[in-house]
Symmetry: C2
Subunit: 311 residues, 2 copies
């Protein structure tokens, strides 16, 4: 892979940026990678493990002279970072981001940027429930989708950023910001909120002890706790900045849930059976699309067949 | 491991019974294993793969002369099977089951059994989203909990059944039927209903195509589809027969969900952040209890670090 950018700046050294640092280095995509995190401890850790070529003490220092500045901070912090770095941005530079919401990020970042600097919004659909500069690994994006929003940037800048993500192992798709936000509300944001809620309910229930919840949490619930262990700040910002789509999907979700709840209350076994039969088809589609394997696993990992489903 | 029963009958040759057949054979827990399934195709498959020592053409034939009869059928079919086998049961035999609900099974099975036959209800907390006689594997119960409900059986019968499950690799706990049903409503039944619902909503949404749902379903939603791919008949029966506890937990769930929904609508970031921070603790408890690993995986399996979380 040939070098695509002379200098890349990674702002916010969490799971995504630290994985990018490893992947960029592995594929030789940049001449130099500069990093910055608002947390001094994270900067210290990043220096210790040699995450980037240089770790700077301000976002502007990292962004100065960069051909590509990646904003890898929580969605709610994007606008402030853009204002910080705007005065030092190189003419013709590309600014991009890795936030989970796209419309709100575009609205916050674009007005802060100087003329001649292009913003292309981005969202790699990859991650784990772990965070911080030690959480990253080069293969995080391998075979995963990265959605990019062109936002009127020149074709050459779009092509270069797409090649950059492809170089890190991702498949690239282009999408409108609003459609991205709706799709992600369905496939990610609402499911996360539901998982958080269910884990909270379990914790609250006086008659079932926490140790029982922990001890007997196979399958379904264990997957929920994994989801619900994700970074609180990141997820707070996701829900606040993708409010409309999340509330719309939540409304549909509770409508459906009430219908199933009613079927349980009235003993309508046929309705339940029909519903559960239909949902099997989507799972098959996901396996056929190569987004998961048919191997029984239930989040246990380790590659054995000792899966964890239960009822 | 020494032989615990001369003849074990497995009624219903799905994932659980077929895994038991492998585990019993591997550990030498029974002199003979007889199997029966109501589906002629499943009986044929079981014969082809040599799942049991003998596959019978009726439940009564399988149960005849057995020291242990395991009912591994959907919860709603337990009572009818008990009636079928009652006339041939050996005096002193133990009947048990593997259903996901315990009160309803006890109420359905016990009245059908003759005097001198003991019913000890059971529930191994293990499974995958796959079903049928080919789905089983010997390690399914390894390190997982099996909850047993003594139901007044003699101590010797209880000890023997506990040794049987331990011999298949499980840890055994004894519990009251009603408490079991509440604990499982929290840790398994309600999470499954929620996952089914969310997958159904995604499928219904006209503006997001099924292919987009499939393509961009990393993390949260992919875990949901795995859960929602479980056997429809089994789950229909679970909800119909654990109605009260499920409806109670669903009520609490929607109450909490509405509170978070309101926080999103009003932009109360502090409430969201506090809630999401709290749910992280339960996840840590589950890892510390050895029910899962800290490795980032998100249901992808394969033992690599290429996990699939995203937002």
């Amino acid at each position: 892979m040939s070098r695509l950018y002379d200098r890349v700046a990674l702002i916010g050294l969490g799971l995504i940026a630290s994985s990018m640092a490893h992947a960029i280095r592995q594929a030789g995509l940049a001449g130099e990678v500069a990093g910055y995190d608002i947390d001094a401890g994270h900067r210290e850790t990043a220096r210790e493990i040699g995450l980037c070529d240089v770790i700077c003490d301000s976002a502007a220092e990292a962004a100065q002279g960069a051909d590509l500045v990646m904003l890898c901070v929580p969605v709610g912090a994007m606008g402030a970072v853009a204002e910080d770095i705007a005065p030092v941005l190189k003419p013709g530079a590309t600014v991009s981001d890795t936030g989970s919401v796209k419309r709100a990020v575009i609205d916050a970042v674009v007005p802060a940027l100087p003329d001649g600097v292009h913003f292309i919004a981005g969202h790699p659909l990859a991650g784990t429930e772990q965070s911080g500069p030690r959480a990253g690994f080069a293969a995080l994006f391998s075979g995963r989708w990265c959605i990019l929003v062109p936002n009127g940037a020149p074709q050459a800048a779009q092509d270069r950023l797409a090649a950059f993500w492809t170089g890190m192992g991702a498949h690239v798709d282009w999408m409108d910001a609003d459609h991205h936000d709706l799709v992600l509300a369905v496939t990610s944001h609402t499911p996360h909120l539901i998982a958080y809620t269910m884990v909270g309910v379990a914790d609250d229930l006086g008659r079932v002890t926490d140790s029982e919840v922990v001890k007997y949490s196979a399958a379904g619930f264990r997957d929920f706790t994994r989801i619900a262990a994700s970074d609180p700040t990141m997820w707070r910002d996701v829900f606040l900045s993708n409010k409309e789509a999340t509330l719309e999907i939540l409304g549909r979700f509770t409508e459906e849930l009430f219908a199933l709840q009613r079927a349980i209350r009235t003993g309508d076994g046929q309705q339940l059976h029909d519903y559960f039969t239909r949902t099997r088809a989507i799972r098959r589609g996901i396996i056929e699309a190569g987004q998961d394997t048919a191997a029984p696993d239930f989040g246990r990992g380790g590659g054995t067949k000792a899966g964890g489903g239960n009822a």
